[in-house]
């Protein structure tokens, strides 16, 4: 056995289920599907007057990586606008080895996925949904 992908930190993020659920009457909301694997993420946000996220929730029908990523995003996105969320994405991309540099917390947890190209979309899907919601 050679199970380097599902390391404790990823499993812990997923199990934490940060932000799981819906918002009542969200400012914006968007859903993204990954047609290849069937993963589905819906993200609701409440925004303030400056476009900053004040509340965020996610519904994930997807794998552990997608759940963990959605939870990590929910844990860090509040207080950020579209630009601020884009910075978080750079963290994720760094963890996946798709951009140079060191990934910040909590996204550094996804470093094991760098070796599994076919799963990287799972990590990025919540980012795509949030980007749609903010645009």
């Amino acid at each position: 056995m050679n199970d380097q992908l599902y390391q404790e930190r990823i499993v812990a993020l997923a199990k934490a289920k940060t932000g799981a659920g819906k918002l009542n009457d969200p400012t914006k909301s968007a859903r993204r599907d990954n047609p290849l694997c069937g993963d589905r993420v819906t993200i609701d946000v409440r925004l303030d007057g400056q476009g900053k996220i004040t509340e965020i929730a996610n519904q994930v029908r997807g794998c552990l990586l997608c759940q963990a990523s959605a939870a990590a995003l929910a844990a860090t996105a509040v207080g950020r606008d579209a630009g601020g969320v884009a910075e978080l994405r750079h963290d994720a991309e760094r963890a996946l080895g798709r951009e140079p540099g060191e990934a910040g917390e909590p996204f550094s947890a996804f470093a094991p996925v760098a070796a599994h190209k076919s799963r990287q979309e799972c990590v990025l899907l919540p980012f795509e949904a949030l980007k749609d919601a903010l645009s």
Binding site: N2, C37, C63
Partner: protein
């Protein structure tokens, strides 16, 4: 009974690979099977001693290539029990179904109906949806039973005199259920509908006697039947094919081309526009010949023994659920299951770390997943070269996923 699995395994070079320190437990045969030396050698022989374009050259290499290509057609025809001239080489199973949807489909009129089922692979749904938007035909869908079989009780209601074609999976790529072809053919013929079978999951399990089935079209893919990629087969009844217009245009499918108009060659050439997939066809011919030498009664028993071992083992792991027929009757060695609280992709990924290759997800059968409200399944699909060690490694991996991922 005395099925010599070691002897079969020895013919598949990839099965003795060691990847990242682990042997290959290949249980993703429903997606693509592995290929034996006999196939690799046949293709290499063509590439290094007889490669040329077919049909049109008079030189020796062209004669060799043409002979090998037409010999491959005969090998496939023997495998299906049909005349060689009714075997059309296509780019794959998907391409074969699209050929029928475009060519036979162009003969249909608005209001005509085609009957499919809710467990079909996207390749046997989307071509018909595209046809519907081109030509105004209608689609009907046979429902699926809780066991994951096409529900033939609905046939009388869904078959109408407007139904021109019934196109169904011979074996489900998700549940392994075998279609009751005779019942379908009897009902379809009663309303004058043609019957097409998607044989993608059946062909890898040995020769098929098509004439005894009474159907009109059959499609399968080379790469799932131990052959190369880029090749598939459409079989059609001769008189049907002869009445169908071409699908793609190009070299070899013509009678005479003038600027004003063009006449068509007879089938199968009419449907093989351009230079065919000569090497892949030769490989598929060799794969069919290879399959015909296997003792399939013994191989099937062996495969179904593995299914039993798998089902027994899964039942001992808390929270597993099978999706598909519970008995071994009228089913083939494709087994789908779910593990409560763990996404199928995470099951498959964990299995990979045990050296076990399976497939997880919607299996290109999203309507079936929707029908059962599933995120997907983990699918174990077997070939005669699989053995107990493959199943045992898989069970170990599932147990580990159950323990660590929820």
């Amino acid at each position: 009974m005395s099925f010599d699995v070691a002897a079969v395994r020895g013919q598949f070079p990839i099965l003795s690979e060691i990847i990242d320190g682990k042997p290959v437990h290949y249980l993703d045969n429903g997606a693509s099977a592995q290929t034996p030396l006999a196939v690799l050698d046949a293709v290499r022989r063509y590439e290094t001693t007889g490669r040329a374009n077919v049909l049109r050259g008079v030189h020796r290499l062209a004669e060799r290539a043409t002979e090998s290509y037409e010999h491959a057609r005969e090998q496939v025809a023997a495998f299906l029990g049909v005349p060689a001239m009714e075997v059309i080489f296509t780019g794959g199973c998907t391409a074969a179904i699209n050929l029928v949807a475009y060519s036979y489909g162009s003969l249909l009129k608005p209001g005509d109906r085609i009957l499919l089922s809710e467990l079909e692979h996207h390749s046997n749904i989307v071509p018909w949806q595209l046809l519907r938007s081109r030509s105004g035909i209608e689609l009907d869908m046979l429902p699926v039973t809780e066991e994951g079989r096409i529900d033939l009780a609905a046939l009388p209601k869904l078959l109408t005199p407007k139904t021109k074609l019934v196109s169904l999976a011979h074996i489900s790529n998700v549940t392994g259920a075998l279609l009751d072809v005779r019942a379908v053919v009897a009902a379809a013929k009663a309303v004058g509908a043609k019957v097409m079978l998607d044989g993608a999951q059946r062909a890898p399990h040995g020769p098929v006697d098509l004439p005894s089935l009474g159907i009109d079209f059959y499609a399968f893919a080379g790469h799932k039947a131990y052959g190369p990629n880029g090749i598939g087969v459409l079989w059609g009844k001769g008189e049907l094919l002869d009445a169908m217009p071409p699908f793609m245009g190009g070299g070899s499918m013509i009678g005479r081309v003038t600027l004003a108009e063009t006449t068509w060659a007879p089938s199968p050439r009419r449907f093989e526009a351009g230079t065919p997939a000569i090497g892949p066809a030769i490989g598929l011919g060799a794969a069919c010949a290879w399959m015909q030498k296997l003792d399939w009664a013994a191989a099937h028993d062996h495969e179904m023994g593995l299914v039993q071992r798998l089902m027994d083992g899964l039942q001992k792991i808390d929270g597993t659920q099978l999706f598909g027929p519970a008995s071994l009757q009228n089913r083939y060695p494709v087994v789908s299951f779910m593990l409560d609280g763990v996404h199928p992709h995470d099951v498959a990924q964990t299995l990979d770390s045990f050296g076990v290759a399976v497939r997880a997800g919607h299996h290109c059968a999203q309507p079936l997943m929707d029908r059962f409200d599933l995120d997907g399944t983990t699918r174990v699909s077997m070939a005669p070269y699989n053995d107990n060690s493959d199943i045992d490694a898989l069970l170990e991996g599932v147990a580990y996923a159950a323990k660590t991922l929820r």
